[in-house]
């Protein structure tokens, strides 16, 4: 389970910056960037504590 949370959180973290890169390459509109960043932000804060908490133990 720890592994799953870790993978999900890294995906969310990547999803925080990837939309900006796609916007830079004209592959995504600004509103979609803002929405995706928000979803990924929520994803990070939901999943990261699940494994970071244990690691800090």
């Amino acid at each position: 389970m720890n592994f799953v949370f870790r993978v999900l959180s890294y995906l969310a973290l990547g999803g925080t910056v990837l939309p900006a890169a796609l916007f830079f390459g004209d592959r995504m509109g600004l509103e979609a960037v803002k929405f995706t960043m928000l979803v990924c932000t929520i994803g990070w804060f939901v999943t990261a504590p699940c494994w970071m908490e244990r690691r800090e133990g």
Partner: protein, 478 residues
């Protein structure tokens, strides 16, 4: 800027060991590897204040070459200061700055140092509260302060700042460790949101490929020329010295003795480069790109308000980053300021002192003067604490060679080492006079100030220490 530890403060984030070895050298079993310091510095130097500093560079009329290369060189000098000035003493003594200063200066002078540190931390926390409050202005649409405002300009602004400040103060007093944990989760996310600010901002400025960057940077972003009204013109030297000295209290001022006393090797201080080049390079440039975009869209809109800047680029996620960046860095700053004040009034409860300190920071945050003049304030902060760094350096490396007793307060039992005290006061007096009446800008005064403080401490120690009055306590020296 950073929320690095004040010497009297035992804890910062959960990266840092808590309440340990405050009055003894850190034992070998507790030494830490390089990785611990990389994470700590990268996290600490992406703070709410970065969102003010970047735009203020643009307002200061800096050119692209000056800002990019000034930051590269200045940050390198800051890293070298950690590596060659601070860490070698930290890994030899393995004491907190507070305890080392107490041995040199005596308890009463350290109390005075704590008071100065606490007051500066209060104002810094105030600037962080200001940053967070600007995010609420986007939602509630109250008038927010302009670039040259010193006083609050609307009831809505005052209410927002006081509400944010009170919330941060209560949380700092009650749940400091909870926020410290939250700050750890937030750190990697914040770094990437700052990067996203820059990438989105660049595209909106018209950069379509990496090849365009330098051309657009020179023409549209950091154009050089005259600064905005009320701002000081920044050149390469201003940027370089600012980047070098904005954390002066921590490296040359030796506050980070408390951090690197845990390092296995002194060269682990190179980890500070992670903080410098992520926070004080990427984050500052990203924030300044957002401000340049605002000026491009409306040249009359010169207000430096991180909330609207972040909202335009990254929407709600960007706004959340503004709030989190301000909150997670104001929290330990208020906590540390409270600890510094509590050391002066030990019988007062930590809860009440922290709460009061937080409210003081909130009131300071309502006045935009600190945030809007952050470049000057940060330079002042370094200048005030720098002389004590010179005292620690000279006492450690040069005392015996120069013929005076190191750790004089401990050796002689005095509670106020006048050689150290006068070094501090005279250096500050001369530096202040040079800035006020001598035509020297505050960004440049601290370098000669350090050498003056070092020479003063040598001279005053030889003059004021009674001959053969005290032997250095061998057990604790090197």
């Amino acid at each position: 800027m950073s929320n690095a530890p004040t010497p009297a403060a035992p804890a910062a984030t959960s990266h840092e060991p808590v309440d340990e070895f405050e009055r003894e050298p850190v034992p070998a079993r507790s030494w830490l590897g390089l990785k611990s310091f990389v994470g700590q510095y990268a996290g600490e130097h992406v703070a709410g204040t970065e969102l003010m500093i970047g735009p203020l560079f643009v307002a200061a009329g800096v050119s692209a070459f000056d800002v990019v290369f000034g930051l590269i060189v200045g940050n390198a000098l800051a890293v070298l200061s950690w590596v060659f000035l601070c860490a070698p003493i930290a890994t030899r003594m393995r004491l907190t700055l507070y305890y080392q200063l107490e041995k040199i200066c005596g308890r009463h002078l350290v109390t005075l140092y704590n008071l100065a540190n606490g007051v500066m931390f209060c104002f810094l926390a105030g600037a962080m509260v200001t940053v967070s409050a600007t995010a609420f202005g986007v939602w509630f649409k109250f008038p927010m302060p302009g670039l040259n405002d010193w006083l609050p300009n609307s009831v809505g602004w005052v209410v927002a700042v006081l509400a944010v400040g009170a919330l941060i103060a209560v949380v700092a007093a009650y749940g400091y460790r909870l926020v410290a944990r939250f700050a750890n989760y937030a750190a990697p996310w914040m770094v990437l949101v700052f990067l996203a600010y820059g990438i989105v901002g660049l595209r909106q400025m018209g950069v379509t490929s990496l090849g365009d960057f330098w051309d657009v940077a020179q023409r549209e972003i950091w154009k050089g020329g005259e600064p905005l009204p009320g701002q000081v013109k920044f050149t390469f030297w201003h940027v370089m010295f600012f980047a070098w000295f904005c954390n002066m209290a921590m490296h040359i001022g030796m506050s980070d003795l408390s951090v690197f006393r845990y390092a296995k090797k002194s060269w682990y201080a190179v980890a500070s480069a992670a903080g410098m080049y992520v926070g004080h390079f990427m984050a500052w440039l990203s924030a300044s790109i957002l401000y340049a975009l605002q000026l491009k869209l409306d040249p009359t809109d010169t207000a430096v308000l991180p909330g609207p800047l972040a909202d335009r680029a990254c929407g709600l996620a960007g706004l959340l980053c503004v709030i989190v960046a301000g909150w997670t860095t104001a929290n330990p700053t208020i906590y540390r300021a409270g600890l510094a004040f509590q050391a002066i009034v030990p019988r007062a409860s930590r809860f009440k002192v922290t709460l009061l300190t937080g409210m003081l920071a909130a009131v300071a945050g309502a006045f935009p003067a600190v945030a809007m003049k952050l470049l000057g304030f940060v330079a002042l902060y370094g200048m005030i604490l720098m002389p004590m760094g010179a005292v620690v350096f000279v006492d450690f490396w040069l005392a015996r060679q120069c013929g005076f007793t190191p750790f004089y307060a401990e050796a002689s039992g005095v509670s106020f080492n006048w050689a150290a005290g006068l070094t501090w006061f005279v250096t500050l007096g001369v530096c202040t006079a040079l800035v006020q009446w001598g035509g020297v800008e505050i960004y440049f005064v601290s370098l000669p100030g350090w050498f003056a403080a070092a020479l003063l401490y040598i001279g005053l120690s030889k003059l004021l220490q009674a001959p053969n009055s005290a032997e250095a306590p061998q057990s604790t020296y090197r």
